[in-house]
Structures are given as structure tokens and as C-alpha cells.
Symmetry: D3
């Protein structure tokens, strides 16, 4: 069985992430989407909230699992016996940063964890969780960026209940 | 069964290409390496020679097939019912060009042909078929760049028989 | 009156070019779209054909004029007393090349010709006249890339009359 | 009347900004330079100080207005019925970030706010408000970077009164 | 005598830095490696520790000196009558940032301080002090990244004494 | 004695090249500027003409020699016992191409030929021999780009004798 892992912050999941999840789930027998528990950042949603949001957003894709992890990705992937990581690429800056991480992971895992990149679909090319949060914080329109139930949860976090 | 296609010119195949082939063959049940028959370029090796070289260079990887094709990749992939193309990424310039092709293929195939990118291993990051040919044309050393039997064939093309 | 010039090869005009034309025509009182008569290239359409295609494609935008020119852009712009050139930006490679030309034009014109850049709309970000021609040469589908009457003219050039 | 808006932090305004202001004021009937009131950053100068500095620095350009705004640019532009934003481009990193913002603004405004880019003149290509502040904080020479009266105000902020 | 300076944070020194030091020491009669005392950052090692680590790591290269400095590089270089700075280049993002600094230094020093760039050897191309620290903080393997005695010191800082 | 080599086409030498020559000649005891005899291109000036132009343009810099070479740079550098190549960097596209060549040269020379990069001074950042030739071919003004005696020679080649 060919399995892959899609790690990320997903704070919150966007249509860009969901596009990568849909496409990667077509390529592998099982795809594990895993929320990084990064204790150094101050996320909008807790790890548990993000796992639940992802489960809801991907419930129609049968071969997708949602989990969370902390520490190094290579240790987590080894514990699950998964050898492929999936990452989306939006732009040049992404590209360099992602390549650095992919190379480091391949070296540190003694070539046991490889990374494949999917380029983000054009309509989501400039979409990021950060910009979604910034726009929502000014009560701007994020419905084109995230699923409707996610948008409502984001507005709630910023106190725009009836949006 | 999960199948993928790795299209390219392979004129000649380098250690960089073989690195991508090895890694992609681990990710899919079957990998078809296919030589593009581009009638507009003047290749060093004929399509038939390149297919034979690739077969020899990959004969230890059981799930790799070698073929050739002409025309649009999306038509060829459709005829073989393959939905994933594999491409190696070396650098920024590659990145932009490859993304353009991947987006075009995805659009023209009505999302039936997706592309995944593998970043070239560091030791092959600056290796290209073109530079191999330029170095060989001055009788420079290409043994660090291609398999030994390929190097000998390239030197023959440039008239350096006993190298 | 604020006037601008949009120079290019337009061989053929794509939806990406038309997007730039539409947006730039909103920003200036008059926009002159001008086909560069580059004697060194072998175009698919003659300069006259390209001018006629552009006139047809822009006939609903009242403040757009279509012309052709040869020689240096700064000389042509000076002859028309226009001080702003418009260029579309698709990607990093475009960006560097376009900046080089813009800087050179500004210097050579003694700051009489400035350039503004519009970023191509996302849905046309990877569209180019070259890829349109390559796809059409294999009888691929270019209707998503150019207006219908342009597509028919391109197919004619490649001998696909009844497409 | 063709109007445009040039939003920014301007903390402080540099010769690079003033170059963009001068050139954009030639292209439009009216240019509104507007200081973003970003409550999350710790600026060197208050919004009021920055507005006053900009008014002084641009007082010889009759069609330039100076204002400030908070919140989303698209809401501010809509309230003023302005449909064009102006941004300077210095380098690749700028380019990607600026394109992301421009695309987002165009989408969120339903194509009512478009962005044009001017490439910074070569002599200011590597000039930024941040580097001006860092150099001044070590009592380095910032007279090549900002107008004389601005330099004196910056040195005052860092306690170098008699520079 | 031709002298050069290699400024940096070196928190800690990596094999990538040592590669630059070795190669630059071959090009100049004397190379001064100098630790920047940047009071705004929270380093893992103190300036004194970093100087001592560098002295130990370079003790076999006779024409290398190790020092520290604070303030602007151009003032420090002037005080030592050195006119060439050395910097390593890993990637595009580095490139832009480094060029900005090099241009600023050249301008502020009235062309008395020039900068040369060495491209990092491929095997260290994606290595940075930051990633070394992040990996070590999770008790990951940093022995491929830094000299053995440096690795032990880094692990000590993160409380992994017996690694 | 520290020696370096500056290889290139120099067809013709521009102020950008001369800026690199001046700065590199300050860093090394001897700088050899060497014209690549590339038989595949159709140059404007013969190798002999380019050598003579370079000698004239650099006659005030005592430690500069001008030569020509054909074949691989690493073979030429080895024959002269020079271990450092100098290259100017203008932009991102340059950067990638130049790094590829530098890495290849370092590998093929078994680390006997290293490359240093100087970033082109801002006022010459967008200057290239190609654009000089294109502008001159339309009788445009190239006096800001090359020394006066070079400009006259270029205009002669294009039949503009009395410019």
C-alpha cells in the first residue's frame, strides 16, 4: 500500500490546502493529513480544533485520515512507516523554503522520507492562512477562501458573530 | 494500481534523471519513463538510442518501463490511462517553466493529468544533459555526471573513442 | 489627456493580453496597443494580420487604438508624445526581463518614457502566445486561451481547418 | 478624472518613495499618498508625524494629497471612489509579496481596485525605511537616503541631535 | 597584503561557514572572521562563546583570525583598514538580501568596502544555523551539520547532555 | 601572488564589465581578463578586436592582462596556474546560470578552480552587451553604456559612421 503524509499548520485550512488534499488523495492509497503542534506560535485555533475542522472538511474523501504531531516530521513519519511527504507550492519564496526542508528531511531520515510537491491550483495561488486571518480581523470577506463552516468559526474568533 | 509517467528528452540520461527515476519508482506501482520525440530539436542520440540507453540504465528497477512518444503529453497520458506526471526540479528557472507546463497540462486535460515535482538531490542539483554534452565536446570529464556506459557513448558521438 | 502605449508581439493576442488591455484602458484616457514589427523573428501572423486581429478583439473598448511600429520603443513613443508604457507581468522570469527593458527605456528616453506593470490575472498567469502556438500545432485545444475567431485563424495556419 | 492611491508605511519616507510619488503624479490627475495606520507594528514616527513629513516632502507637487487610513485598503479605496493603487517594486521578494496583495485586493474588491507597479529607479533600488532606521541607529550617514529635514528628524529620534 | 573580512552571526558555526572560511582563506593573505554582536537578537551562544568556537574550528588555517564587532560593518572594516567583505550565498532569498547589504555598504563606505560572494558548496546548500538549532532542540541529529565538538555544545544548551 | 581570471565574451566590453575589472583588480595582485573564443556564436567583434578593445579600455590599470582562450575554462585556468575566477552578477537569472557554471567548474577541476562573484554596481545593473548591440542597431544612444571609442566602433559595425 502506498501511503503519504501531508503535514502543516492548517490554521485554518483553506481551499488551497483542500485542493492539495483532494489531488494527493487520488495519487496514494492513503493520505494522512497531520496538524503540526508548534508550541512556539500563537495559533488562532487549537490543535484539537484544527483536527476537527480538517475531519469535517475532508469527510467525503474516504482514504484521508487526520491526525496531529509534535517534534520532527521525520520521527513522526518513521513511527507511522510512511516514506512520502506531500507539500503544496505557491510561489518562489515557498519553493526555496520548502526545498530546504525537503532536503534536510531526506538527509536526516537517511533517505527514508522523500517529499513530493504539488503546485497550487491557479485560483488559490495567492491564498494563505495568514491572509485569511488578516482579512477576517477587519471583518473582510473570507468566503471565497475557506469552506463556509470554517469562515463562520474564524469570524467567531474575531468577534464577528453574525457575519 | 497507481501509475505515473516521467516524460523528458533524456539526451542523454544523467545521474540526476536516474535519481528521480529511482525515487519515483518507490512511490508508485509502475513508472513509465518516456522519451519525447521532439522533431524540432537536433538531439545527440536518436529516440531509439535514448530508449535503449534508458532501458539499460534502469534494468535493475523492476517496475520501470521505457517508451517514447510524440505530440502532446496529455494525449499520450490519456491513451495509457495514466493520471500523474513526474518532473524533477533543480532551480528557480526550472520551477517557473515546469509550473507553466504543469498548469497547462492540468487545464487542457480537464484535470485528468496532474504533475508532482521531486527536487533533485543536492549532488546533482546543477547537472543537465546540455552541460554534459558541452563538457564532452571539449573532451572534458563527464564520468561524474552519467553512468559509465553512457559516458562512452557520448564520447563516441564527439569522436573521442578511447577516452 | 493621459495616454499610454501597450507594445508587444501579439502573435496571436491571448486572453492574458486582452485582460491587460481592458484594465489599462480603464486607467488612461487613451490606450494605444502597438504591434512590434520585429524583422528578426518568424511570426505566425504578419504584422497586418495581427493589427487586424487586435482591432477585432478590442472593438468594444472605445478608447483603444491599434497600430504597429518598428525600431526602438522610445523613438516611437516620442513621435506620438506618449510617456507611459504598459506591460503585463506573469512570473519571475518576466519580471527581470521586463525591468531591464523598462530601466533601459527610462534611461535612453531621458526619463520621458516610464513603464507601469499590471500583474496578469490568475486565470491567465501561465498563458503565452508561444504555448498557444505549440498546443495548436498538435491540434490541441486552444479555445480556453484565445477568442474563438482567433483560435480558428490559428488552427488554419496549422492546417486544421475544420476544428 | 483619473485618480490613484499610493498606500504605505512611510516610516520614514525615502527618496525611493518620493521617486514613485513623482512619477505616479505624472500619470494620474490626482495621487493620494496614504499612511497605513498599522496598530500591530511599533513605528518610529506616529501616523500624524508621517503625514506631516509627507506633506512637507511633496509640497511642490500640486496634484498630490496626503492622508492616513486604517483597516483594509479595499474599504478605504472604495470610500474614496479610487480604483487604482500604486506600488513600487524593488526586487524579487517585493515582487512576490506585492503580487499576492494585489491579487487579493482585486478579488476582494470584485475587480474594483486594481494595482499598478512602478519599478524603483536604480539609484534607490536597495533603499528601504528599515535600513535607513538601522543605519541611523548607529549614527551612520542617511543623507543619501532621505530628504535633509527627514534625516534630522530621524537622528533626533535616535538621540543624535547635532548630526 | 590582501586582507578580507568574513562577518556573521555564527550561532553556531556550521560546515557551510567553514567551507566559506577555508576557500576564502586560500584567496587572501589574511582572513578575519568576525562575530557580529547584535544586541537585538537572543543568540544561543554568547559572542565570547562563538569567538572561542570559531577559533577552535579554524585553528588549522594559519591565516585566519577570529574577532567580534558591534555597530556598522563599514565602520569596523575602516578601523581595520580592510576593503573586502566575504559572504556565502546559498539561495535566491539570500542573494537578494545579501546584495542589498553589499550595495548599501559600498555606498555608505564611499566605495571603500566591497563585497565578494562565494556560492556554498552543494552538500551544504540548505544548511543554516537556524535549522541546526531547531533540529537539536528536538534532539535530532546535527552531526552532519557542524563539527563534533560544536554539536556537543549545542546539545548541552538544549539539555541533551549524553547525546 | 594572488591571481584571478575574469572570463567572458566582452562583445563589446561595457561599463558594467569595466566596473567589475576595476574592483577585482583591487582585490588581487594580478587579474587576467580573457576573451572566450566561442566558435558557435556569431560575434559582432572578432576575438582579436575584442582583445584589443579590452587592452585599450584597461590600459590605466597596471595589474590587468588581456588574453583569449578556447575550450573549457578549467583547462585554461590550470594551464595558467590560476585558481580563482571572477564573475559579475546582475540579477536572479544571472545568479542561477552563474552558480551552475561555478559548481560545475569546481567539481570538474577537483576544487582547483573556485569562483567569486561581484554584484554589478547599481548604475550598470541592467546593462548587457546584447542590449548595447540592439540599441546601436537602431542608431540609438549607447554612449551611456560603453566607453566613447567603443561606441564609435560599434556604430561603425552597424554602418552609422558619423554618429
Amino acid at each position: 500500500m502506498k501511503a503519504a503524509i501531508y503535514p502543516g499548520s492548517f490554521d485554518p485550512v483553506t481551499f488551497g490546502h483542500l485542493d492539495v488534499i483532494q489531488r494527493a488523495s487520488n495519487m496514494f492509497d492513503e493520505l494522512t493529513v497531520s496538524v503540526l503542534n508548534n508550541t512556539q506560535k500563537s495559533p488562532l485555533f487549537s490543535v484539537e480544533e484544527r483536527v476537527n475542522i480538517l475531519k469535517e472538511a475532508t469527510r467525503d474523501i474516504p482514504n484521508v485520515r487526520v491526525e496531529s504531531f509534535s517534534g520532527l516530521l521525520i520521527d513522526y513519519a518513521k513511527s507511522k512507516d510512511i516514506h512520502v511527504a506531500v507539500r503544496g507550492l505557491r510561489a518562489i519564496t515557498d519553493f526555496e523554503f520548502e526545498l530546504q526542508i525537503a532536503q534536510t528531511n531526506r538527509k536526516l531520515s537517511h533517505e527514508q522520507l522523500d517529499t513530493i510537491f504539488l503546485n497550487t491550483s491557479l485560483e488559490y495561488a495567492y491564498l494563505s492562512s495568514s491572509s485569511v486571518k488578516e482579512i477576517a480581523s477587519f471583518n473582510g470577506d473570507i468566503y471565497p477562501c475557506v469552506p463556509e463552516f470554517v469562515a463562520k468559526l474564524v469570524y467567531q474568533k474575531y468577534g464577528f458573530e453574525n457575519r
